[in-house]
Symmetry: C2
Subunit: 221 residues, 2 copies
DNA sequence: ATCGCTAATTTTGCATTCAAAAATGCGAAA
DNA sequence: TTTCGCATTTTTGAATGCAAAATTAGCGAT
């Protein structure tokens, strides 16, 4: 099994919430499950710790990272900034093919909205944002974006969605597509900031992630 | 020796340019030098690979990452975006104490400019940008910023500095301080973007980093 | 002399092993 | 009964050893 595959598998396990945030990561069990020894597993955990998905307590094992309200706010703030930057850059660089792709994805997403299929809607939403980031043509940006969204992912899915907010989000997406097509970078930047500010408010209102990683350190002191 | 210490030591070795970018990392030699065995060393290399400071070629060892012109442009672009975001947030949240600190650092930097002490000027410049990022009160942002700046650091230092550019940079810094003091977030955001665009142009003009990591893969094919 | 092929050497990646630190359990004393 | 202390067990962190892959060296053929 390739090194990256191990990291990917564990990342998926964490993102799927299979290991509760804050819970101890059962080293032995994962070894058996992935059919590897502790050496590559521990290497993978170190990588995931660098990504902030795993918390490493010296001599006290590793735990799945927990996110506080503050962490979530911070992550959304940065995500917002990255998406705005991506939007600006995408306006300068997006190809017709990429534009086409985003338009298609947008249409599909609107369709999911009409059918009130939240899961599919979310999937489409993510596809569009990722496509915009990709269209920015900046791998460094893509990498940071991927790392930030990975950390928010679970929270994003549990966001409660009222009909009003959903309608607003779709409306904002129309505006995003529009600005992109007009290559209006400053306009798009502004919309994206607003768009994500709304998302952020949803999450905070949901009161998700009300605990703190620092317990994990304190609790054993 | 603590795990993080190993990562830190190797990171410093890389940032100091002690291992030429693109050069193979001598596993055995580093083991002797740090007085550790291969296991912790390899774990550290994996972490640094996650930070993109090290490139891991499966079955072909690890090398210090090399940066292409494109990589540099991408890094500066993102750095610019992060600094702009930090500036906006800092306007909302900066404390008087932090403001004071930045003002002091700015004065010191201007003094270094007057004395034409480039090294100290650079140091002061970095201090100010870091202080602005810190004032944004967003640890996620701080983390990403640290990782991006670490990757550009070497390039930043080799930037050739003409008197004109230097004067412009100082002028821009005056504007930054001014906008911060007025808590003018949109104005500051704009200035920071311009400021870093200038820096970026310097670097590109320097023709630094004209090679590509993909050689490292190709060269052994 | 150069190119191609095979064998030896080196290096990488992983499993195993060993030592140290932390968690646990048990018993004694308050 | 509760709490403190000690011994046992478990778990973590690192070193060593081993198998597989890649690099290098040597040899022969053209």
């Amino acid at each position: 099994m390739l090194h990256e595959e191990v990291v990917g598998r564990i990342r998926d396990i964490l993102l799927d919430g299979e290991i509760t945030p804050g819970a101890r990561i059962p080293e032995r069990e994962l070894c058996e499950r992935l059919q590897i020894s502790r050496t590559p597993l521990r290497e993978a955990l170190k990588v995931l710790a660098a990504e902030r998905l795993v918390l490493l307590l010296p001599h006290r094992g590793s735990r799945a990272a927990k996110l506080t309200d503050k962490d979530m706010r911070d992550l959304f703030e940065v995500c917002q900034g990255l998406e705005a930057l991506a939007g600006e850059l995408a306006c300068e660089r997006i190809t017709d093919a990429e534009m086409e792709l985003i338009a298609t994805a947008h249409a599909a997403m609107v369709q999911h909205y009409r059918e009130r299929d939240l899961i599919q809607y979310y999937r489409g939403n993510r596809t569009i944002h990722e496509a915009i980031v990709a269209a920015a043509g900046n791998p460094v940006l893509s990498g940071l974006y991927a790392s930030v969204t990975a950390r928010i992912r679970r929270a994003r899915y549990v966001t409660p969605m009222t009909p009003q907010r959903w309608a607003l989000a779709v409306q904002e997406h129309e505006a995003i597509l529009n600005a992109l097509q007009r290559r209006d970078s400053t306009g798009l930047s502004h919309i994206l900031r607003t768009h994500l500010r709304h998302k952020r408010e949803e999450v905070l209102q949901a009161g998700f992630a009300d605990t703190d990683n620092s317990d994990l350190i304190r609790e054993s002191a």
